[in-house]
Amino acid sequence: MNEVFSSPFFGITLSILTFEIGIWLEKKTKLAIANPLLIAVVLCIAVLELFHIPLASFDEGGSVISVFLGPATAVLALSIYTQLSRLKKYFLPVLAGTVVGSLVSVGSAYLLSRWFGLDQVLTDSLLVKSVSTPFALAISPNIGGIPAVTVAAVVLTGILGAVWAPLMLKLFRVRDPVVAGVAIGTSSHAVGTSKAITLGEVEGAMSGIALAMAGLITVLISLFLAHPGR
């Protein structure tokens, strides 16, 4: 049976099936919590745990799917290109939003970690949680964080952002698609962007720009966070 589970088709089929269940539930219930990504992740983990299937077996297929993350991020360039006139017009607000958002993200992560009684190493691991994994993984060890904890926080932030985006848009009374896209991309990187794309092309493009800019700005911020002597 193990040979079946470690075939790449197992991970791929399980991912597609659970994601389709998620799409079906989202359509049926129209609830924000019925997010296809969230449901697929929870169901996949449940299946792996239930049948004692090692993550490595799932990843035979999972890694094939992950390959497409790079190209999917790259083709955001197309959305940005088609929204170029809007971006030119709103460059200043977009820049200001990503700078303020990134500072608030790092600052509030620091203060809240302290408030919740987390130690220095865990705090450092959470500082860069709002940028996508490759950015965060490059920064985290430099400022004294544990990469595994950072990855977990980044992924949780992304999924939370994708699930929460519609609710937060309502809460902050955001109607402008530019504002929506930048807020989603800055607070929940590429995973949030995948949700922004479903809201509209402007939202997707702005979220894509914001995820890149927030990542770069956070790299800059991290230069000031490096602990001397570590």
Partner: protein
């Protein structure tokens, strides 16, 4: 096939540049910039990648499923602090979202104010 080859080729190039750069910028972000430049300078026409780009963008959330499932491998490291960690994640995401949205909206309004003022004729400073 040529479409997907072009996109993957740009990604490979982005990866190469990412490794060569002294600052940590992910290959996917560099690929995004490279592809944008190719489109901007009309080296690649939009229609040539439109179809595959739409496929990738439409299914982007799906491509994150394995990354999400991967969290279970970090579970032993985070389980002791799971609640605090979730608290930090939830609240910072909320604050980041709010502060970004309010800033973008505020600066947009300032910009409009500036534009409407400019329309009135006045001597150049």
């Amino acid at each position: 096939m040529l479409q997907i080859g072009l996109v993957f080729g740009v990604c490979l190039l982005g990866q190469i540049v990412s490794v060569l750069l002294p600052v940590p910028i992910p290959g996917s972000v560099i690929s995004m910039v490279l592809l944008f430049l190719l489109l901007f300078f009309k080296a690649v026409h939009v229609d040539r990648i439109r179809q595959k780009a739409d496929f990738l963008l439409k299914n982007m959330a799906f491509f994150f499923v394995p990354a999400g499932v991967g969290i279970i491998s970090q579970f032993s490291e985070i389980r002791a602090h799971l609640l605090a960690l979730l608290g930090v994640v939830v609240l910072t995401t909320f604050f980041t979202f709010g502060s970004t949205a309010l800033t973008v909206r505020g600066v947009m309004k300032l910009q409009e104010l500036g534009r409407s003022r400019k329309r009135k004729p006045r001597p150049l400073a």
